[in-house]
């Protein structure tokens, strides 16, 4: 293993909890660092996170730079940027990866501009070319095409979409180094966090993943099955109109001409026959997967993949498979 920092990963945390995307970045970062024969590092900012920083090592980091300071407890983009830029200038990583979460997408561009380096948004895959340059792959034009992007400057920065990379399995025997960094305290960052409250509510029209149910569902309680699939995929629950009209689920979940028009990356329809009104609302989805008992259901003609079968038979093993794929349970 080389000594320099090949890949740096921003360890996003909120409320002391490390975001899952970080472990995914460490998984990919580990692979890239090995190929570069350099170290995989992570940078964690917050307060009282010494314990948490070990987790980053268990998931693959060789070294964790820890900025532990009360002023970093909550996300202040200026304070975070300031300390990270200082670190990057010191350790000079080849590659700097940040999750394409809202926090990451707010922070990364500031760092890139401060470092005057290139930044590629929302990557779905990363690779190295023969010279060891980072090849960044991102969708363009609503995913109709994929672009490969290279960066001329260093570090090569990218934000990476959540659920694209596979984390390593947690290994508490893995060793690494925690480097406590001196936090440069900015008295006045220009930003004051007055409050932070948990958010709620669904936004179907901007959802990337929708798991929807229709009349094939037998009772409102069974929506829990649909919810579980949606949760495992990080998606939201959609419904055809009959379920909404029956009061099983709120109108904000309705997909169709008289509900939400959606365009997710994947739309999974369980027990939806596909009335023209419903099709209107979802036919532009990137990928449509339909599960229906009725082989003549019109949604089948609008799907990329279809299953002729009972959703009650398909969903339980699907939940098991998804749990396995996500590395839970």
């Amino acid at each position: 293993m080389g000594s320099e920092c090949g890949v740096l990963v921003f360890a996003e945390q909120e409320n002391g909890e490390i975001h899952n995307v970080v472990y995914e970045l460490l998984g990919k970062g580990r692979e890239l660092a090995n190929r570069l024969n350099k170290m995989l590092c992570a940078v964690l900012l917050g307060f009282g996170l010494e314990e948490k920083s070990r987790e980053l090592i268990y998931y693959g980091a060789d070294r964790v730079y820890l900025f532990d300071h009360p002023s970093l407890k909550n996300f202040d983009v200026i304070r975070y940027k300031h300390n990270i830029v200082k670190l990057v200038n010191e350790v000079k990583p080849d590659i700097f990866l940040i999750g394409a979460t809202r926090m990451g997408r707010s922070l990364a561009p500031r760092i890139a501009a401060a470092l005057r380096t290139g930044l590629t948004a929302d990557c779905v895959d990363l690779d190295l070319d023969d010279e060891g340059n980072l090849v960044q792959i991102r969708p363009a034009f609503s995913g109709n095409i994929m672009a490969q992007i290279r960066t001329r400057t260093r570090p090569q920065m990218a934000t990476v979409r959540y659920r694209m990379m596979k984390p390593l399995s947690r290994n508490p025997n893995r060793t690494g180094e925690i480097v406590r960094m001196e936090t440069e305290f900015l008295e006045n960052s220009g930003i004051e966090i007055l409050d932070r409250v948990s958010a709620s509510g669904v936004n179907l029209s901007e959802a990337d993943i929708i798991v929807a149910a229709g009349r094939g569902l037998k009772s409102p309680e069974d929506l829990k099955l649909i919810e579980e699939v949606a949760n495992l995929l990080g998606g939201v629950v959609g419904a055809s109109r009959p379920l909404v009209d029956a009061g099983w689920i709120g109108r904000e979940h309705q997909v169709g001409f008289s509900g939400n028009t959606v365009k997710p990356k994947v739309y999974i329809a369980f027990g939806i026959s596909g009335s023209p009104q419903h099709l209107f609302g979802m036919r532009d989805s990137d990928i449509i997967i339909a599960v229906n008992k009725d082989p003549s259901a019109s949604i089948i003609n609008f799907s990329d993949y279809y299953v002729i079968g009972d959703l009650y038979e398909i969903i339980p093993p699907l939940i098991r498979e998804l749990k396995r794929a996500r590395g839970v349970g």
């Binding site: 009959p242 109108r251 008289s258 026959s273 023209p276 008992k293 003549s296």
Partner: protein, 464 residues
């Protein structure tokens, strides 16, 4: 399953041999969504128990199916997108539901500005196909899930009918199948045709009672290079309505002039988790204008603005971005859906355009007399008014019928008809005599007998 009588099951087997087993559905669960349309629940006809659903893939399959049904005298209910409002497609007798949803191909002929569409293609498909070819299908009868066959069978109207008219004005040719199985081709890619009685025009608007429409030649127009939607709020209905004939006389021909009231349009927006962009005034006109250039259209807008201002318009707002215009049209198209849960019926009375305000006043008077809420809006340029009969304040269905009757009578007295858009379906028989004489009925019955002597196609209470 004991649901089906033997005769029907025998037929099902025979039809399976024509269309394939997968496309004959006998299980009630899978048929459920074909048993209703958009008709409000309180007045929706009850579907029969013994029904099978058949989804043919070609005209020749339709022909074979009809031939069998005709020989065995089994009722056939052709259905489209089930977006009708008068129970027209609801299968009220044991028989066959015929859905042409698999026949949904559309070919656009750019040279002749025509589309050849199979009956099962949706309005949304047609709009998109036209647009992809750089052309335009002007009418917009609300729900884009409606199918071409249904649009023609009901001669649908909707907004945007002022400049180019209702569906009838677009149909240039039809391929239909008669109950005997005979396939008839009518018209074609022609703009002029004087060869005998125009059977095609009788079939347009015949509500699936004469034959099954399988294919249509539909006239398209060049895509307007530029289109805008204006929203013009007024403090009073009379200000808004007085404006309409003045616009129609001005030489500017809009695609649509819609009348809405703030209360209902806000409700529709709320239903879609959206906001109505102009929250001013009591009544609003929504005007859609198109043309070949921004200059031309804005000049026309300027012309209209003078008329609106002289009639006390509060403001004139303009939507230019396609996204904003589509949003306005979608909210407008969903007033019905927003009101539907509290609704008993929706009327579509139509009067000469200049009598529309008078009709609205009459409706207000009827609402006041009975102490009920009768929200109205309509296609102001066409004299076509939608009155909603709501549950609020309604004692019973008799009271609702009495109110409907008074509204119908008011429309007829003003020289109008009881339905301008939605048709007769299975709901409007009682009141037909207000408009049609016994002689009218006799001729219509005669036509029905010639086309469908065994009365198997969409059989209804009275023969036509």
């Amino acid at each position: 399953m004991p649901l089906h009588n033997n005769a029907l099951l025998d037929v099902a087997e025979e039809i399976e041999r024509i269309v394939g087993e997968r496309w004959v559905i006998t299980q009630r669960d899978f048929i459920e969504s074909y048993l209703k349309d958009e008709t409000p629940e309180p007045i929706r006809p009850k579907p029969a128990d013994n029904l099978i659903l058949v989804k043919p893939s070609s005209t020749s399959e339709v022909s074979l199916i009809l031939k069998i049904a005709n020989e065995m005298k089994i009722p056939v209910f052709p259905v489209g997108g089930r977006t009708g409002l008068v129970g027209g497609s609801i299968p009220t007798k044991p028989g066959i539901i015929l859905s042409l949803e698999r026949m949904n191909k559309i070919e656009v002929d750019r040279e002749n500005l025509m589309a050849v569409a199979e009956a099962g293609a949706t309005l949304g498909d047609l709009i998109k196909a036209a647009e992809d070819a750089g052309l335009f299908f002007p009418p917009h009868p609300g729900d884009e899930g409606a199918q071409i066959g249904g649009l023609i069978a009901t001669n649908a109207g909707g907004a945007r009918a002022i400049k180019y008219g209702v569906i009838r004005n677009y149909v240039r040719g039809l391929e239909v199948v008669l109950p005997t199985g005979d396939i008839l081709s009518l018209g074609g890619k022609l703009l002029k045709n004087n060869t005998g009685y125009d059977l095609m025009q009788i079939i347009i608007g015949s509500e699936g009672t004469l034959c099954v429409i399988t294919k249509a030649v539909i006239r398209l127009f060049p895509k307007s290079k530029y289109m805008v939607t204006l929203i013009i709020p007024f403090n009073s209905r009379s200000d808004a309505m007085r404006t309409v004939p003045q616009i129609l006389r001005s030489g500017v021909i809009p695609l649509a002039i819609e009348y809405v009231q703030l209360k209902e349009i806000m409700k529709a927006a709320e239903h879609l988790n959206d906001n109505w962009p102009v929250q001013k005034g009591f009544a609003q006109l929504i005007i859609i204008l198109d043309g070949v250039s921004q200059e031309e259209v804005l000049l026309a807008c300027e012309e209209l603005s003078k008329i609106c201002e002289s009639n006390n318009a509060i403001d004139i707002m303009i939507a230019e971005a396609p996204e904003e215009q589509n949003r306005i049209l979608r909210i407008r198209s969903n007033i019905y859906t927003a009101l539907k849960p509290d609704m008993i019926d929706i009327l579509d009375v139509t009067v000469p355009p200049n009598s529309l305000e008078k009709l609205m006043d009459e409706v207000d008077a009827i609402a006041a007399k009975y102490g009920v809420y009768l929200p109205t809006y309509g296609h102001a340029g066409d004299g076509n008014l939608h009155v909603h009969i709501m549950k609020e304040g309604m004692k019973d269905m008799d009271m609702a019928d009495a109110i409907k009757n008074e509204i119908y009578s008011a429309a007829v007295k003003l020289g109008g008809v009881i339905t301008g858009e939605h048709g007769i379906g299975k709901l409007r028989f009682k009141n037909l005599s207000l408009v049609l004489s016994e002689k009218h009925m006799e001729i219509m019955r005669g036509i029905k007998r010639v086309f469908d002597p065994n009365n198997i196609l969409n059989p209804r209470e009275i023969l036509f």
